[in-house]
């Protein structure tokens, strides 16, 4: 029996499938321990009251309280929706615009590309500190510049009407990062012959952009849109460092409120329920995008 087992083991190691599975196993094990297991646990916790020492089953109470009795939950959700609806479209348009400009066979491409890329390399805490002083109402560079053209800027981080805009504006600083590079890669992947064919048909400028560039770029656009929305719903560090959620909860974003509930108030059941509400919202939004994508995303040669 022993030699039989050995032979079977030997046979197994001769099969490529065994090796393939072995090589991906680090990810699979990590997925089970750090993703799949925790997802189930978190769903379980969301129906309980849990503070690290005692756990009680409360049914849907966490969800009910959040949705019906917690004005801050709605405030945080509204803040986040506003942030997403401003920063995602602006961010995608700006990163596409930069990519288009950089793709114009310009001189000094490397220098320009570096200028646009560098801000996205700044660690988020350092970025938050820098912007805190950019927005400083007396000495900040923003209001100092505005004063030069005779405009009195608002108190960006103290006035609750201005704060949401300040955060949206700050998010634009990073648009030259990965998103822009992905657009640029997409632009460079469009074969020149397509433009030449369009030109022969008498299309130029805007028409070329509308009928060649945009459709060819739509898969990349879709990728950026899906991940951009998901990312914008998780804005955390900047608000935590710059305002702590203030003034008057104007920058209390969803992820910040969730973090406070989890690690400051130790309401881990409530925080888990918040996480699942967030996940559900993102699932619905992503599903809608995938459904509507068939109408505007163009995949060359079918499915790839």
């Amino acid at each position: 029996m022993q030699p039989n087992l050995l032979r079977r083991a030997q046979k197994l190691t001769h099969r490529p499938a065994f090796w393939g599975f072995l090589f991906i196993s680090p990810w699979l094990i990590g997925f089970l321990i750090f993703t799949a297991g925790p997802m189930l646990t978190s769903l379980y916790l969301s129906f309980h009251k849990y503070d690290l020492s005692s756990i009680t089953y409360v049914g849907g109470e966490n969800y009910r309280r959040l949705l019906v009795e917690d004005p801050l939950f709605w405030k945080a959700l509204k803040n986040t929706l506003f942030y997403a609806s401003v920063s995602v479209p602006l961010g995608i348009s700006a990163s596409l615009a930069i990519a288009l400009l950089l793709n114009q066979n310009v001189k000094g491409l490397k220098l320009f590309r570096t200028c646009f890329y560098l801000p996205s390399l700044v660690p988020s805490v350092a970025a938050a500190l820098v912007w805190e002083w950019v927005f400083n109402s007396d000495n900040g560079i923003l209001n100092t510049s505005l004063r030069m053209i005779g405009v009195t800027g608002p108190q960006w981080l103290q006035d609750e009407r201005a704060t949401p805009w300040a955060f949206a504006m700050m998010s634009l600083w990073g648009v030259g990062g990965a998103r822009m590079v992905i657009f640029l890669a997409g632009l460079q992947g469009i074969p020149d012959s397509y433009y030449e064919a369009a030109k022969l048909d008498g299309a130029s400028g805007w028409k070329c952009f509308r009928n060649v560039t945009l459709p060819m770029l739509s898969p990349v656009m879709f990728f950026n849109l899906v991940l951009g929305i998901i990312g914008s719903f998780q804005v955390f560090t900047s608000a935590y460092v710059m305002t702590g959620g203030g003034p008057n909860h104007a920058s209390l974003f969803y992820a910040l409120y969730l973090f406070q509930n989890a690690f400051e108030y130790l309401k881990l059941g409530k925080a888990s329920a918040m996480a699942w509400i967030l996940f559900s919202i993102l699932l619905v939004l992503t599903y809608i995008q995938f459904r509507t994508s068939k109408r505007w995303v163009y995949y060359e040669g079918g499915d790839k």
Binding site: V125, T144, A185
Partner: protein
């Protein structure tokens, strides 16, 4: 490259350059201003905050920022954590990508798409249970929670980038080596890895950035100030020295600098790694 046909009209060219220069200035202003502020005296900042070149360069701000807190300590901690997680992500990620790109096995595509789908999962869903795991293992206030996850592939996006790159390397190379009797491990290490410089550099830079920038992780897991990383150390600095703009800016510059230096060295490989892996578009 192959873009000559888009050279266009002189007026268009002027517009393109005008917009590029304007944009480049807007994007660099916060940098220049941060550096300028970091070099000013407190009085000059108060009286003339907009001035780009300080009247007098106060290098002492850096010295003060460095010594006011155990900043050197934070730097050493962060470098250590980041170095380990970066190497671990590159190696484990490329092994996983090798498995996904070169082998047929049951449920491979299902597992691959599952992996891609995890990119859409907000971290908040798993955060609390993962915290409970580490607490159970008595690993709160240690570096394990920050380091260990990197050994499991280093994240879906990195694995995806690596796999895309590996798919572009001709399989004939593997097959030829196999006929010569090379093992799978040898093929991975001697054939795929040496040919993958750009994407390895890209993934290394992403992993580095992810960890160097990591704020929420250290915030949740580290309690003892001596164990802090730069990002939460900087936040602590803001609390205690928040009114000395110049010093806060000097400390921020110290946090940014290593990344920028690294980027300049990795730049050549980095952008090629992304270009070649192109997403969705082809």
């Amino acid at each position: 490259m192959k873009r000559t046909h888009r050279d266009g009209h002189p007026a268009t060219r002027t517009l393109v350059y005008g917009l590029l220069i304007l944009g480049a200035i807007l994007f660099t202003v916060p940098f220049v201003w941060t550096l300028a502020t970091a070099l000013k005296s407190g009085e000059e900042f108060a009286s003339d905050p907009g001035r780009v070149i300080p009247k007098q360069f106060v290098w002492d701000n850096f010295h003060k920022a460095w010594t006011a807190l155990p900043f050197a300590r934070f730097m050493v901690n962060t470098v250590m954590i980041t170095a380990i997680t970066t190497v671990a992500s590159v190696i484990s990620g490329s092994i996983v990508a090798y498995g996904f790109s070169r082998f047929e096995f049951r449920a491979r595509n299902f597992l691959f798409y599952t992996m891609l789908a995890t990119m859409m999962l907000p971290g908040q869903v798993t955060q609390i249970p993962v915290f409970m795991i580490w607490r159970q293992l008595h690993a709160i206030d240690t570096y394990y929670p920050l380091i260990v996850p990197a050994f499991f592939g280093g994240g879906a996006f990195n694995i995806f980038l690596l796999r895309q790159f590996f798919l572009g390397i001709p399989k004939e190379l593997d097959e030829a080596a196999m006929i010569d009797g090379a093992s799978y491990i040898k093929i991975y290490w001697r054939i795929l890895m040496p040919l993958s410089g750009p994407v390895l550099a890209t993934v290394a830079l992403f992993s580095y950035l992810g960890q160097w920038d990591n704020f929420e992780g250290p915030l949740i897991y580290l309690n003892t100030p001596e164990k802090y990383t730069v990002s939460i150390g900087l936040r602590m600095f803001q609390d205690s020295f928040g009114t000395n703009f110049e010093q806060v800016m000097a400390a921020s510059v110290l946090h940014i600098l290593p990344t920028i230096i690294l980027f300049f060295f990795a730049q050549r490989y980095f952008l090629r790694g992304i270009n070649l892996s192109g997403i969705g578009g082809r």
